[in-house]
């Protein structure tokens, strides 16, 4: 086919273009024509269509996400906020952490292994592009029912993909979630988080300033990955069924990514990078427009110079390719030899493909002809913004009215059995089948990993120069789709509440938030309502708890036909512990310690694990979020940890006190003898009230902790003592730890082999 140049576009203003096939609306196409004052070329259409896609432009979510900024609490810690590749937080002593969570849901449904693997790869490159060394990953996963056939296809592949990629990069996996619910069948959620470390004064940004600076593409060669849509542009007549031949699946090469990490770190060290951007979705289109838009405003790129894996690729396809393991850097001309030498040392191919200009235009050529000539900001920042209509779902009131009060509750002599049923249910059972496929030890800085409530890393040996700090960082991710379905506003707050608590029980002080918002179609007003409510709830809760949102990701269209997944906001919280040797271990760590329950318990069973597992019921309202109580609890926990009062801890969440006690016993195989504090043992054991934690302390520390709790107005009950080989609940039951273990560990292996 003939090349669609700017010249040709001017000569053939009325040529029909496949913008609909590329997912563009009529008015969006008209806007492009308006911006350019002519029809776009095929290559320009490729750029605008990907840059203005939901995925890249956040066109449906933008108006809501603004609240994360407008309602943001004042935070000294925030160094880089939303809008960059990842947020950056000051963690003290001159060091900063950058972290972000991102979804790779649909690709993981199509090809679980590669979809999940490239999800990890993508988020790691985001962290690298901030100038940081990636130091750990986490994964938050949702699958259909554990025994549904498609789950048996998807889960093993996803786990292998995450493990295969992360393990090969040498990034310890320090936590995550695995949740099963039939609502995710056909729409599994794979959310990957990466955290990195850097010197506070060495943050890199995605910007291309300085005319004359060179644009370098480095990493893997460009192939036909993920360009299903682009082939309509490259084909002679897009009316034909020409899309089938190009793969939508991207395949990852973790070895190349590992080389890229080490190569980038050496480039940063040598100070030969002016600006840098990873290539994710929308590949070269995204990297060039964003770098140019944030820099001097102009760039000239010769697309013929892009090294190709598939020599038949057309320029439109090169622009849209999502080939993995690529980065783009802006480099001063004098530094090019040093830059190239470092790439050669690491066997990373690198090519100068263009130059920064002061024209304010992004110009690209192919075979010497101009095929792109646009103001880059119009593609990168001035995409469409929708105020999508939203409306409370028709069934919401009825759902909330169907409370768990009508469900029969177990008699005292059935509580033992109820506990074991819950403990062995797929959502509460041990996730070791999954986590044992992940390396949690590599690089030797992992202080806490699964099954601890939060992952924790020592900082001092992560990078040269960090020896001076005693600090550590803690991270947890949480989300509960059932709660969010019942009340998305509260559900989002509860996700934050739990992640915040999980960080606090380790002794770390929660500092900042990332989030991944997984929802159905934004074109459905009921889904849009869930989304709007969740964002409003999360933004409000972040303000109350004083933790800013630093970044995140929105994943829409997680639905099959009109059946959307439960709204699933997943929240990641990062905290800092001043002295990492003061970290609190998980659960009961020794015999003869006093067991205390912090926080107060109400009758909160709406959306609970008990209602779900025993009655397959979802109705009523979730537990009320109590952020003030959450903040006081965290303050007690971090103070007590710093003073060395806590020997072990565990938060209460899904499954309530019953499950927390069982997990605390399982942590080190230490039993306990406890008396329930309230007068309804069922509620005591299975209610999911928020802002509660279980701790164990040396007997002589009991009074000090009780006083600390009293000062902070955190209710506190002595439940009993640790020791023995069974979980004993006075007057109700006794379960040997070995029996707990058997029930807890056998569920996933018996399903997944």
């Amino acid at each position: 086919m003939s090349l669609d140049t700017v010249k040709r576009a001017l000569e053939t203003p009325d040529e029909r273009q496949p913008y609909v096939e590329l997912g563009m609306k009529d008015d969006e196409y008209e806007r492009v024509r308006e911006i350019l004052g002519r029809r776009p070329t095929g290559a320009e259409l490729a750029i605008y269509s990907v840059m203005w896609s939901e995925h890249c432009s956040y066109k449906s979510s933008k108006v809501h996400l603004r609240q994360f900024g407008t309602k943001a609490p004042k935070s000294e810690a925030l160094l880089v906020g939303m809008g960059e590749n990842a947020g950056v937080v000051d963690i003290g002593d001159g060091w900063a952490a950058t972290f972000k969570i991102e979804s790779h849901n649909h690709p993981s449904y199509v090809e679980p292994h590669q979809g999940a693997a490239t999800g990890v790869g993508g988020i790691v490159r985001d962290i690298m592009s901030m100038g940081a060394r990636p130091i750990a990953v986490m994964d938050s996963l949702r699958f259909g029912g554990a025994t549904q056939p498609d789950t048996r296809r998807v889960l093993p592949g996803v786990v292998e993909g995450i493990g295969g990629y992360g393990n090969c990069l040498g990034l310890p996996n320090i936590g995550g979630e695995v949740v099963f619910d039939p609502c995710y069948i056909g729409n599994p959620l794979v959310n990957a988080l990466c955290v990195g470390l850097l010197r506070k004064d060495q943050i890199k940004l995605a910007t291309a300033p300085g005319p004359g600076n060179k644009v370098v593409l480095f990493g893997a060669r460009t192939g036909a990955d993920g360009i299903g849509g682009a082939s309509v542009l490259a084909s002679a007549t897009f009316e034909e069924e020409s899309q089938a031949k190009r793969p939508a699946v991207q395949v990852g090469d973790p070895f190349m990514e590992k080389l890229l990490i080490e190569c980038c770190l050496e480039l940063y060290q040598a100070d030969v990078v002016v600006g840098i951007q990873d290539l994710g979705a929308a590949g070269v289109s995204c990297a060039t427009t964003e770098l140019a838009a944030k820099g001097t405003g102009g760039m000239h790129v010769d697309l013929n110079l892009v090294p190709l894996r598939d020599p038949t690729l057309r320029p439109e396809e090169i622009l849209m390719s999502e080939s993995q393991e690529r980065m783009m850097a802006v480099v001063a001309p004098d530094d090019i030899p040093a830059f190239m030498a470092i790439c050669t040392k690491w066997d990373v191919p690198a090519t100068v493909i263009g130059e920064v200009t002061d024209t304010g235009r992004l110009v690209m050529t192919w075979d010497g002809e101009v095929i792109v000539d646009i103001p880059p900001g119009t593609a990168a920042d001035e995409g469409p913004v929708y105020e999508r209509p939203f409306a409370e779902p028709a069934g919401q009131a009825a759902l909330n009215a169907d409370t768990p009060d009508r469900l029969p509750r177990p008699a005292p002599d059935r509580l033992r059995e109820t506990l074991l049923t819950l403990l062995g249910s797929p959502n509460l059972a041990s996730k070791e089948w999954v986590t044992s496929q992940y390396d949690r030890y590599v690089r030797g800085n992992t202080v806490l990993a699964q099954p601890a409530d939060a992952g924790m890393l020592r900082i001092s040996e992560v990078m040269p120069g960090a020896q001076e700090t005693t600090r550590g960082i803690a991270l947890a991710t949480d989300g509960n789709g059932r709660y969010a379905k019942l009340d998305p506003y509260t559900g989002a707050q509860l996700a934050l509440s739990e992640a915040y608590r999980n960080v606090a029980v380790t002794g770390a002080k929660p500092l900042a938030v990332t989030n991944c918002l997984n929802f159905g179609s934004p074109e459905d007003p009921e889904v849009m309502w869930q989304f709007a409510e969740a964002v409003r709830g999360l933004a409000d809760a972040c303000r109350t708890l004083g933790v800013p949102v630093t970044g995140g990701n929105v994943s829409f269209y997680n639905q099959t036909g009109t059946d959307a997944i439960h709204p699933t906001p997943v929240v990641g919280v990062l905290g800092v512990i001043d002295d990492v040797s003061r970290r609190v271990r998980s659960g009961f760590v020794a015999d003869g310690l006093r067991v205390m329950l912090l926080g107060s318990t109400g009758d909160d069973l709406g959306g609970s694990e008990w209602a779900h597992v025993v009655h397959d019921h979802l109705g009523g309202l979730p537990p009320q979020a109590d952020l003030e109580a959450e903040r006081r609890l965290a303050s007690v926990l971090t103070t007590a940890a710093a003073e060395g009062l806590l020997e072990g801890s565990h938060d209460l969440s899904d499954g309530g006190l019953a499950i927390a006690l069982a997990e605390a016993c399982l942590a080190q195989g230490v039993g306990c003898s406890v008396t329930l504090p309230g007068d309804d043992p069922f509620v005591d054991l299975f209610s999911e009230s928020v802002a509660r934690a279980l701790v164990c302390v040396r007997p002589e520390a009991f009074d000090t902790l009780a006083e600390l709790c009293a000062r902070q107005e955190v209710p506190c009950h002595g439940l009993g003592t640790t020791g023995g080989t069974a979980l004993k609940v006075d007057g109700l039951f006794e379960i040997p730890v070995e029996e707990l273990r058997e029930v807890h560990t056998k569920t996933l292996p018996s399903i997944f082999g």
């Binding site: 292998e160 493990g163 295969g164 393990n167 090969c168 040498g170 090469d253 973790p254 070895f255 190349m256 590992k258 080389l259 690491w346 066997d347 986590t435 044992s436 496929q437 992940y438 390396d439 949690r440 030890y441 590599v442 690089r443 030797g444 800085n445 992992t446 202080v447 020592r458 040996e461 990492v580 040797s581 970290r583």
Partner: protein
């Protein structure tokens, strides 16, 4: 007396080199980085081949690494007595380089597995195990997808007869290794390879819930100091 110098080899894709260096330092020796592309052992007294995914573990684990320029120096040095320890990918490289017999193949369970594993020390006569007691059980992390040791019957019999099975899995065999073999030595006892990771078990705060890995590093130190 200057500290003993232990070389830590980094191939493209090596991951545990930082851990290995830390373990060497904690034991009181100097960790000397060795780069795969240099034909230079930098005069070290012993060499540690750490774990990871050298060359992505593509083709076979260790298959490509063994052709690195550094290996041209290391192979003859090891044959003439230089103490060498290979863990995980390092063990795989030693087998691919024929410095140790047999091969490491896909785990019988077909999954990568990371867990804290009980190991029995069977031979305390090697350069890397003299600080243990015969039959001592230790806990070290394992983390590998291809750790099932195989060798032909004759080789296995010879290993057993000569006491060259240095480590055996105690309790559950995690990967289907023949004779529960977790690690072996060459005839001279200077070259030892094992799948478990001593370098991840040297500190209270981090890594595995044991510090049993320290024995490897104190063993080699003692040997070098007494040599």
């Amino acid at each position: 007396m200057s500290a003993a110098r232990v070389g830590i080899v980094t191939f493209p894709g090596t991951l545990d080199d930082q851990d290995a260096a830390r373990a060497v330092r904690l034991a009181g020796a100097e960790a000397v980085p060795l780069w795969h592309a240099d034909r230079d052992l930098r005069g070290v007294d012993a060499v540690f081949l750490p774990g990871g995914f050298s060359y992505g573990d593509y083709l076979r684990c260790g298959a490509i690494s063994r052709f690195a320029p550094l290996m041209d120096e290391l192979i003859p040095a090891a044959r003439s007595g230089l103490p060498v320890l290979g863990t995980c990918n390092g063990f795989q490289i030693l087998c691919e380089a024929h410095l140790l017999p047999g091969a490491l193949t896909r785990n019988a369970g077909l999954h990568y597995i990371c867990r804290d594993q009980r190991i029995r020390v069977e031979n305390t006569g090697t350069a890397w195990t003299r600080e243990f007691t015969p039959g001592q059980e230790i806990v070290l992390p394992i983390k590998h997808g291809e750790g099932r040791y195989v060798a032909d019957a004759q080789t296995l019999a010879a290993l057993e007869r000569d006491g060259r099975v240095v480590f055996r899995y105690a309790g559950d065999n995690p990967n289907g290794s023949l004779n529960d073999i977790a690690g072996i030595a060459n005839e001279a006892g200077n070259i030892v390879g094992l799948m478990p990771h001593p370098e991840h078990a040297v500190e209270e705060l981090t890594g595995a819930p044991s510090v049993d890995g320290r024995g490897f590093f104190t063993s080699i130190l003692k040997k070098l100091v007494n040599a």
